[in-house]
């Protein structure tokens, strides 16, 4: 993948024409095209495009294993429900940086918001692919079809409003990139409002995805169904999101080495230790909630069953262990423990969301849903597309390297990147 590519950005012209020329130059790829990563992910996306043609021509049944018993497959269960949990880092970090003013985490706020924004965008795309009648998607947004009693109605609206809030949060970066200092100031002034609104929407959205399953009381295995799913989803989104931030940060550090600003280069490990501590705290809260919920439902007897073992794997092996890795790593200053904790924690949250939405959903059905290879290809392709856009933005906009608090740097946008990459 690209690293340290110095852009041959043309000097800024004036007005619209100058910007269009700049945009055209920026749209060009900046690194070698035929890298193994590009070939593999590009191939997956092309294959997915073919599968989607079949899907829209002949219906969902032609490419998926969805059935009357399993109306939601991995495009919903993985891309949307799991993906949104991983996008949770954005609201947690915005809270820490913009509300609590924890300056230490400021260098990663832009990349996290970008990640969240792109995640939401691509999960929206996955959702559209999965809708049977996507041409009616605007019905709950405009017109006289407001199903206000529906959890999904609220989730849809929060989705829409939050993605807008995230765009506002990220927009100063775009204005800096495009060289619009005046607009940058206006957008920057809107950040706190967008952040406050965004956190509230996020809390509702994260918990709302869990609330979708409240009416599936008789369908989700009792170890995963309870009245507190919304709260469990919200709390787990904190460490899911932060684990994602830790992993993304560690990867970006290698892949986009040339794009890193000094604060990020120097503060990386300290930031990771801080996030690990917060994640560990969130996990402990989550585990206590799990104990309370399972006790409340008299579920301890179920632990002796096969499903109980599966549950214990998720809760102990993939949720408690990461917390211990985080705490141990922070205490002994072992960054590799922290990174391992983030990876294991991520797997744990994937498993939790998949358990609720797919694996333990209709656990008693005689024939259980297993995705087709085509569903898997499309699910992976959506993530590949997201990575491509992420890479495009990181390589062009001041995301990993930016002037905090809008100091001087505004005027230096559209400058050749070589200086920053050096």
């Amino acid at each position: 993948m690209e690293r340290a590519i110095s852009a041959a950005t043309p000097p800024a012209g004036t007005g619209i024409r100058g910007f269009l020329r700049f945009l055209r130059a920026e749209l060009r790829p900046k690194g070698p095209i035929w890298t193994p990563f590009n070939v593999i992910t590009g191939g997956i996306m092309l294959l997915a495009a073919g599968i989607l043609v079949v899907r829209f021509a002949f219906g969902l049944g032609s490419v998926t294993n969805l059935s009357q018993d399993f109306p939601w497959g991995i495009w919903k269960g993985f891309n949307v429900i799991t993906g949104v949990a991983f996008a949770g880092g954005a609201y947690v970090l915005c809270f820490m940086v913009y509300i609590m003013k924890l300056e230490k985490y400021h260098p990663i706020v832009r990349v996290t918001v970008l990640n969240g924004f792109l995640s939401y965008t691509f999960y929206a795309i996955a959702l559209v692919l999965e809708l049977g009648r996507p041409w009616n998607i605007l019905n709950p947004i405009i017109g006289n079809s407001f199903g206000v009693s529906s959890v999904l109605f609220l989730v849809a609206w929060h989705f829409l409003l939050y993605i807008t809030a995230q765009f506002v949060e990220f927009s100063p970066t775009i204005a800096e990139w495009a060289g619009w200092p005046r607009l940058r100031r206006i957008l920057g002034a809107m950040t706190l409002g967008a952040v406050v609104f965004g956190i509230c929407l996020s809390m509702l959205h994260q918990s709302g995805l869990g609330a979708l399953y409240l009416m599936a009381k008789t369908k989700v295995h009792p170890l995963w169904w309870n009245e507190f799913i919304p709260i469990l989803f919200l709390v787990s989104s904190v460490f899911a999101g932060l684990s994602m931030v830790m992993i993304e940060g560690s990867l970006s550090r290698r892949v986009f080495r040339g794009r890193l600003g000094r604060p990020l280069r120097e503060g990386h490990e300290e930031i990771l230790y801080g996030l690990a501590r917060i994640s560990a705290g969130a996990i402990l809260v989550y585990l206590v909630l799990q104990v309370v919920v399972q006790t409340h439902q008299h579920n301890w007897g179920l632990l002796a069953t096969g499903w109980g073992a599966w549950y214990l794997l998720e809760i102990l092996g993939l949720t408690l262990v990461p917390a211990l890795l985080f705490l141990g790593g922070v205490r002994r200053r072992r960054i590799s423990w922290v990174r391992a904790g983030a990876v294991v924690g991520l797997v744990g949250v994937v498993l939790n969301r998949m358990n609720v939405s797919i694996i333990a959903y209709r656990w008693d059905a005689p024939v259980h849903y297993v995705p087709t290879w085509m569903e898997v290809v499309v699910a992976v392709a959506v993530i590949c597309a997201q990575i491509w856009v992420f890479r495009w933005v990181i390589n062009r906009m001041p995301v990993l390297d930016f002037a905090m608090h809008g100091e001087q740097r505004e005027t230096t946008s559209r400058r050749p990147r070589a200086a920053a990459a050096a």
Partner: protein, 302 residues
């Protein structure tokens, strides 16, 4: 004769007010009354406002005439003449009702299955476009122009009634509509009208419950003392009588008596709470953090 007149009048009153206009898809104010029931509420409609079907499984002979009548009334493909009764069949996107046979302690029992038409339907409360609504006459109907095909109704329905056309480019949600158009004309559903064994009765829900109780108390040894659907999932528009426990003839016994939309009530109530209480709280925190920053800087300078 007199009873039928009452039924007809009620159906015309209730049905045309809600279903008739509803099915023609006109935007209308009267919708509000019909959809209020799709909202979150603990209290189902007062009984008697809506119509119900009483299924007496002790009278059903398993002839499957209802399946044929249903297919004809809804323009569906004709059901296959011979079916394997040892298999348990489910209604599907191309067949809105099926009759299954169960070997029970009281011999073979035939049971018709279709959408239960809940008084407070989970599907309608789950629907974010109001494609699924319950009419005043008691029919839970699906409206093509609204639906975006998310299938959340299928996740929510405790009876798994809504079915989806997975093999269509323009898929629909399909299920028993309780012959809403016939109800609007003052007629009974096609299956009821064509039942030769008298196993199906149609009328105002209160009357159907009275009738069911009359049969139970009239022959207490013949029936189990339970009208399935009287309280299940907050009450349903289809009521069942049986000679054996309902779990023996394919009914879920873990549905509970709470109306399913109630499960989402707390979450829905939390939304305005969070949106009004938290923004000022966050702004206050932000101000507080600013003050802390100033204080720290001040302390450093000293």
């Amino acid at each position: 004769m007199k009873r039928r007149d009452v039924v007809r009048t009620l159906a015309v009153l209730g049905g045309s007010a809600a279903v008739g206009r509803d099915l023609r898809g006109r935007p209308r104010r009267a919708m509000a009354a019909g959809t209020a029931t799709a909202g979150v509420t603990d209290t189902p409609l007062p009984d008697g406002e809506s119509m119900a079907v009483l299924v007496d499984t002790t009278k059903c002979v398993g002839c499957r005439m209802c399946e044929y009548a249903c297919a004809e009334a809804n323009g569906l493909e004709k059901p296959e003449a011979k079916v394997d009764f040892s298999l348990r069949r489910e209604p599907s996107e191309s067949q809105f009702t099926v009759v299954n046979r169960f070997e029970t302690s009281a011999g073979t029992v035939s049971v018709k299955k279709q959408c239960m038409h809940c008084l407070t339907p989970a599907c309608a409360s789950a629907c974010l476009t109001k494609a699924l609504v319950r009419s005043d006459a008691g029919a839970v109907v699906w409206r093509e122009s609204k639906c975006m095909g998310c299938r959340y109704c299928m996740i929510s329905c405790p009876f798994d009634a809504p079915k989806f056309e997975y093999d269509a480019a323009n898929p629909r949600i399909r299920k028993c509509q309780m012959c809403a158009a016939r109800l609007a004309e003052g007629e009974s559903p096609a299956c009821v009208a064509n039942c030769p064994a008298g196993a199906l009765s149609f009328g105002p829900r209160t009357e159907m419950i009275d009738e069911a109780n009359r049969r139970i108390y009239g022959e207490p040894d013949k029936y189990v003392h339970h009208i399935y659907g009287e309280h299940e999932a907050g009450g349903t528009g289809w009521l069942y009588l049986s000679a054996v426990p309902f779990s023996e003839i394919g009914f879920r016994s873990d549905i509970g008596t709470e109306a399913y939309p109630v499960f989402t009530k707390e979450f829905l109530y939390a939304v305005p709470f969070i949106l009004t209480v938290f923004p000022p709280l966050f702004l206050a925190l932000s101000e507080g953090s600013k003050a802390r920053e100033r204080w720290n800087r001040h302390a450093e300078e000293e």
